[in-house]
């Protein structure tokens, strides 16, 4: 179980998260949706402490961390980060390492595994995202979708308790986004706990069990994703979801969004 309670975070005096509380059960996928600037990415980054909240409490696995405005102990940060994996909007693969090298990195450097063992595990993960044949390729030689799948394998390498995905499909055109959605959907079926910040409804609807709507740093509505997307209770959520649908039809292949209408998934 992951608990964020009464999380507060501001940037330069501007409150980005206002006492936000969120719980995620093991084995479930939670989509964080909301307009740009709603705080969904920041909330996600608070889970692995890329952002340190000013107040609130984070519970992850056996770790409980209370935020007091002072920087938390390095050890505590490290223990939390070892239980999380993160997938970034623009992949952030290490360009000077091969696909295999990217996935092996945390095993070699952080977990201090011997190279052959790390290599075997990394190959297994690349196979899982369908890229075993690209193990020796450099990031530059991979398509965006392939890079993101390598990034997913990298994030999974140290067996995190939760996979945090920050807009994992936003930098991809619909076709490449689909291969990433497929991989994430498979992970979801296998019981990987995930938190996904996204405004890709196709992704949210086909992968997430739960959904949380954020606006201006506050939780507007939370519930089962199927209901939240089809019959939102709050007017704000309804308005937001209706703006997403025409957005999809502006994509290069208009036929596509019909088959992936949120309700259809």
């Amino acid at each position: 179980m992951i608990h964020l309670s009464a999380i507060e975070k501001s940037f330069g005096g501007l409150a980005v998260l206002k006492r936000v509380s969120v719980s995620v059960a093991e084995g479930t996928v939670t989509a964080l949706i909301g307009p740009s600037g709603s705080g969904k990415s920041t909330l996600l980054r608070c889970v692995n402490l890329l952002e340190i909240p000013e107040a609130g409490r984070l519970t992850l696995g056996g770790e409980v961390l209370d935020f007091t405005g002072r920087p938390p102990a390095r050890d505590a940060v490290r223990r939390i980060r070892r239980q999380t994996g993160m997938v970034f909007q623009n992949f952030q693969l290490f360009p000077h390492r091969t696909a295999l090298g990217n996935v092996m990195e945390s095993l070699l450097v952080v977990q201090k595994w011997p190279a052959p063992k790390a290599r075997a595990r990394a190959l297994e993960l690349l196979d899982k995202v369908g890229l075993a044949h690209k193990a020796e390729a450099w990031p530059l030689q991979l398509s965006g979708g392939q890079q993101q799948r390598v990034a997913i394998a990298r994030a999974l390498a140290s067996s995190p308790r939760v996979l945090l995905c920050d807009e994992p499909t936003s930098a991809l055109d619909p076709e490449l986004a689909q291969e990433v959605v497929d991989v994430l959907a498979r992970l979801a079926r296998e019981g990987t706990t995930m938190m996904i910040a996204t405004h890709d409804l196709r992704l949210a609807a086909s992968v997430a069990h739960e959904a949380i709507m954020l606006d201006a740093g506050e939780v507007v509505e939370a519930g089962a994703s199927a209901e939240l997307f089809t019959t939102p209770r709050q007017a704000r959520t309804r308005r937001f979801i209706s703006t997403l649908t025409p957005d999809v039809s502006l994509a290069p292949s208009p036929a596509r969004h019909e088959t992936h209408e949120p309700g259809a998934a």
Binding site: F88, L93, F94, V109, V110, A155
Partner: protein
């Protein structure tokens, strides 16, 4: 054999010898020490506490703002008045090291800062700490960007070592001056010395190209992206 060629061949030995035992070691040592100093200065400016940042800025300001020749004179001719007596070679080595340190610190600072924040975050997200992220992720990428500007510094340094002649280091240029003083052939001898400097910096240019090529290969940049 024409006179000028004869003279060049005769003086080639002493000139090359001076280059080999003074110019080349002075260049290599002050580059290695200077780059180390520059790296530490860059880290101090980027990540150090305020007093260290101020100290690093002060150092770079002084060194970049004053002539190298004057710096060498202060160290070799000036410091003895303060009770610090140095031989010519160590004085030159210290002077060039401090100089390279200041210029290269600006290069190192810029290339480290040019690595996107996302690369740090990706490193942290897989559990690395700051020094692991710096060593494994940031520096290997920064080094690649740093090769051309640092090569500039290196090549300038080879030529700048001729200033050591002014503080009595018997390096290539001073050797040339000595030969001129007995042969009275400044045109031929100084051109010959210039050609040796040209040869030395050409070797460095070739090394630079090789290094760039190797870095490019190790990111797959030479093979077409799919």
């Amino acid at each position: 054999m024409p006179h000028w060629l004869d003279l060049m061949l005769q003086s080639l030995g002493p000139l090359l010898w001076a280059a080999l035992i003074f110019t080349v070691p002075l260049t290599l040592l002050s580059f290695v020490f200077g780059l180390t100093l520059g790296f530490l200065t860059a880290l101090a400016r980027l990540y150090g506490p305020a007093p260290l940042v101020a100290l690093a800025r002060f150092y770079v300001w002084i060194i970049r703002g004053t002539p190298l020749l004057v710096q060498l004179f202060v160290i070799f001719y000036g410091l003895p008045s303060a009770g610090i007596l140095l031989d010519a070679f160590p004085a030159a080595l210290i002077g060039f090291t401090i100089n390279v340190g200041a210029y290269s610190s600006e290069i190192v600072r810029a290339v480290i800062a040019s690595i996107p924040r996302g690369q740090w975050e990706a490193s942290y997200s897989i559990g690395m700490n700051w020094s692991q992220a710096l060593r494994r992720t940031v520096l290997p990428q920064a080094m690649r960007v740093a090769v051309p500007p640092l090569s500039n510094t290196f090549i300038s340094l080879v030529k700048d070592t001729s200033l050591a002649a002014a503080i009595t280091v018997p390096e290539l240029f001073q050797q040339a001056q000595r030969i001129v003083s007995v042969s009275y052939e400044p045109l031929i001898i100084y051109i010959e010395a210039a050609l040796i400097y040209l040869a030395l910096s050409s070797v460095l240019s070739i090394l630079q190209e090789r290094l760039e090529l190797r870095f490019a290969r190790s990111a797959g940049a030479l093979e077409s992206a799919t």
